[in-house]
């Protein structure tokens, strides 16, 4: 009897999952993430530990994903039973990621339909299979509780989701998504793996991600051969300030990979840099291209920013933006960074990309 007990204890010790640092790779939690900085997914058999890092204060939210009913949840972890069957997604990027996994059927709630592009989701809203909960400032929390969703995923903007504790009491686990704070476009796209693990399609997620990385890297490699770097201005004015992607943001990385000469390439931060309109004009008046101006026509840009016409890229018709199809861009650009890169190369280096159509961007008229 004692011998049996010792034997099973021995087996348990050597087969149980441990951190990858212990050296036993087969039975240890292996990190599945390569590019993302705010996400860590540790997998061991059917058990998955998800660590979501707050981009500013580096605090960690820990989740334990498992299909097993009888396993114990590690200390300080929130348990999520997989596969999740019902999910509320509060950002277009989540819809894009789930669509790549053919997992839109798990969506039970979204924000307002005016922010949605996906036809399946729009149809779900029409048929009331999917509920719309308003906009982020005015969410209908009682309706969320009543929705019987298992998980709610929201874009983290620094603070915890409002009423997260009450929602968790109602059985809805809130997960923050910091994909927009990633400083590499591939890091942003890598969040698809989280969705894959949540809905039980992790193999599909990994497979899509690796093939997309190959395409991205191939475009980047081709672009590296180019010697000319066109000057690029990005962003637009909002109130008193011009907001442009900061040097450590994923968009700055896209500009680098597209061989663009972006003036604020070396600024700090993963979000935006704020500058006066005067400074931006003084420094970028002669920029060859103006990208991401935030409006769908030149007339609308001029209305919002009366001094836009002094930017040469505006007056010479070299202003491009994804705004004509804004919802499509926000849904799919995070998960298709290779298409964003392709569009940027098509705009900046037409000699490299021969085709006329672009995935997201349009020349503004």
């Amino acid at each position: 009897m004692n011998f049996r007990l010792i034997f099973f204890t021995f087996i348990l010790i050597f087969t149980a999952c441990s951190d990858s640092s212990s050296g036993n790779k087969k039975n240890s939690f292996q990190n599945q993430i390569k590019y993302a900085k705010t996400l860590e997914i540790l997998e061991c058999g059917t058990a998955v530990k998800v660590h979501i890092y707050h981009p500013e204060n580096k605090t960690i939210k820990r989740f334990y994903l498992t299909p097993e009913k009888n396993t114990q949840t590690p200390k300080n972890y929130i348990r999520i039973s997989t596969p999740v069957k019902s999910m509320i997604t509060l950002s277009g990027t989540h819809i894009g990621m789930l669509s790549k996994l053919d997992g839109l059927d798990v969506i039970s709630g979204v924000l307002d339909k005016k922010y949605i592009h996906n036809l399946i989701v729009l149809d779900g809203l029409k048929k009331k299979r999917i509920h719309a909960f308003g906009n982020e400032e005015m969410l209908r929390f009682e309706a969320i509780v009543n929705s019987n969703a298992e998980v709610l995923i929201y874009s983290g903007f620094g603070q915890d989701f409002p009423h997260a504790k009450q929602l968790e009491k109602g059985g809805i686990i809130c997960l923050s998504n910091y994909d927009w704070k990633e400083n590499h476009p591939l890091g942003r796209a890598e969040w698809i793996k989280l969705f894959g693990y949540l809905i039980g399609k992790e193999t599909k997620a990994k497979s899509y991600f690796s093939s997309m990385v190959k395409e991205y890297d191939s475009l980047k490699k081709e672009a590296k051969k180019l010697t000319r770097k066109p000057t690029v201005l990005s962003g637009n004015v909002l109130g008193d300030f011009w907001y442009a992607p900061a040097g450590e943001s994923y968009f700055a990385e896209l500009f680098r990979d597209a061989q663009a000469d972006y003036l604020y390439d070396e600024t700090k931060g993963t979000g935006s840099v704020e500058m006066s309109l005067e400074r931006v004009l003084a420094e970028n008046r002669k920029a060859e291209f103006w990208l991401n101006a935030g409006f769908s026509t030149l007339e609308l840009i001029q209305k919002s920013n009366k001094k836009a016409s002094y930017i040469e890229a505006f007056s010479k018709g070299k202003t491009f933006c994804y705004s004509p199809n804004m919802n499509l861009f926000w849904e799919m650009s995070a998960i298709e960074p290779h298409h964003v890169l392709s569009d940027l190369l098509r705009i900046l280096h037409p000699e490299l990309i021969q085709k006329n159509e672009m995935y997201f961007y349009q020349k503004l008229n």
Binding site: K114, Y115, G134, N135, M138, V237, L238, G239, D240, F241, E274, M275, S276, L277, E278, R279, L281, A282, R285, G294, F295, S296, L300, K303, S304, N305, K306, K307, Y310, M326
Partner: protein, 332 residues
């Protein structure tokens, strides 16, 4: 209006400070400019020259609109404080700004193209300020308590805020964006070509004020005495509200809502001048209002690389403690 030597020194000092602040403002931006570039930008403008472009399209209009907005809001505040006999009155607190915001919101969010043009936005802002001004005036005939009137002003602000929020919820993303940008307010969007119309409206508003100087002096001693002296109170009220609507609407249309200047500056001038003479107060508010906003905007430009602050946040940062001081002073 006899001007004492002390007052003369005060006005001269404020005038000199304003000149100094104007020079500081003109040279506060990130790009270094010379006097010659300013002069050339006015009389020998070459659009290809970036320095001249910055001078003509950024520095000069920004300075002028800061002066117009500061002076206009301060004078509006002075008129409201005398008319409602309340030191806490001002176009922002009384909800006159809210009237402008509501009409601009309706214009921008309803999609009629006329209302989305420059003239449409100015007309909407002026009309909104007029409607709310006269609404308050009508209510003031029945409500004698100045605190109640201020509360009504605050409620009007909340009410219009709620309508605007509802409008935002049903508007398209592009319309919503245009309105959100407008509400953020800015002194940077004014163009050189717009200066004549801005100055025209400003001069009209201020000129009308000069007709109000004596009646307002009399109004301070009470409405009954004003009538005994043969002045038409109704006309004084209508003219005061019209001037306030023009000056507030003009500022709101070009800069968005700017808080506290209209309340804080008139109180400061009253404290400094220790007078109820509206001739002196008008001049003081014109100079001090312009000085306050020009100096605030210069500081914003100087600290921009360290802390980017919108103009509205900066005026609230200075204005709010000032108002608390005024309230505490009155309680003593």
């Amino acid at each position: 209006m006899a001007i004492k030597k002390r007052d003369l020194i005060f006005f001269f000092t404020i005038f000199l400070l304003l000149i100094g602040a104007m020079v500081l403002h003109l040279f506060s931006g990130q790009l270094k400019l010379t006097w010659n570039e300013f002069i050339d930008s006015m009389f020998n403008f070459d659009v290809k020259n970036t320095q001249q472009l910055i001078a003509r399209e950024f520095r000069i209009p920004r300075l002028i609109i800061a002066m117009v907005a500061g002076a206009g809001l301060a004078v509006s505040g002075m008129l409201m404080q005398t008319l409602f006999n309340n030191p806490l009155a001002g176009p922002y607190v009384l909800g006159i700004n809210s009237g402008s915001s509501l009409l601009v919101a309706l214009s921008l969010l309803t999609g009629f193209s006329f209302f989305q043009s420059d003239i449409g936005i100015i007309a909407s802002a002026l009309f909104g300020a007029l409607i709310f001004g006269f609404l308050l005036l009508g209510l003031s005939m029945y409500i004698k308590s100045s605190i109640s009137l201020l509360l009504i002003g605050l409620m009007l602000g909340s009410f219009t805020g709620a309508i605007i929020t509802a409008l935002q919820a049903i508007s398209s993303a592009q319309e919503l964006k245009a309105f959100t940008i407008w509400t953020m307010g800015s002194l940077q969007q004014t163009q050189f070509d717009q200066l004549p119309i801005i100055l025209l409206f400003f001069v009209i508003g201020i000129s009308m004020c000069f007709f109000l100087v004596k009646p307002l002096d009399v109004l301070v001693i009470g409405e009954k005495n004003t009538e005994i002296l043969g002045l038409n109170i109704k006309r004084i009220r209508i003219l005061s509200i019209t001037v306030t609507a023009i000056l507030t609407g003009l500022t709101t249309a070009f800069c968005g809502p700017i808080a506290f200047v209209g309340m804080a500056v008139p109180n400061l001038t009253r404290i400094l001048l220790k007078t109820q003479s509206h001739g002196k107060l008008l001049l003081a508010n014109l100079l001090f209002g312009a000085l306050f906003l020009v100096l605030s905007d210069s500081i914003i430009q100087l600290i921009e690389s360290f802390i980017p602050l919108p103009i509205n946040a900066f005026t609230s940062l200075i204005g709010a403690p000032l108002v608390i001081l005024i309230v505490l002073k009155r309680l003593k």
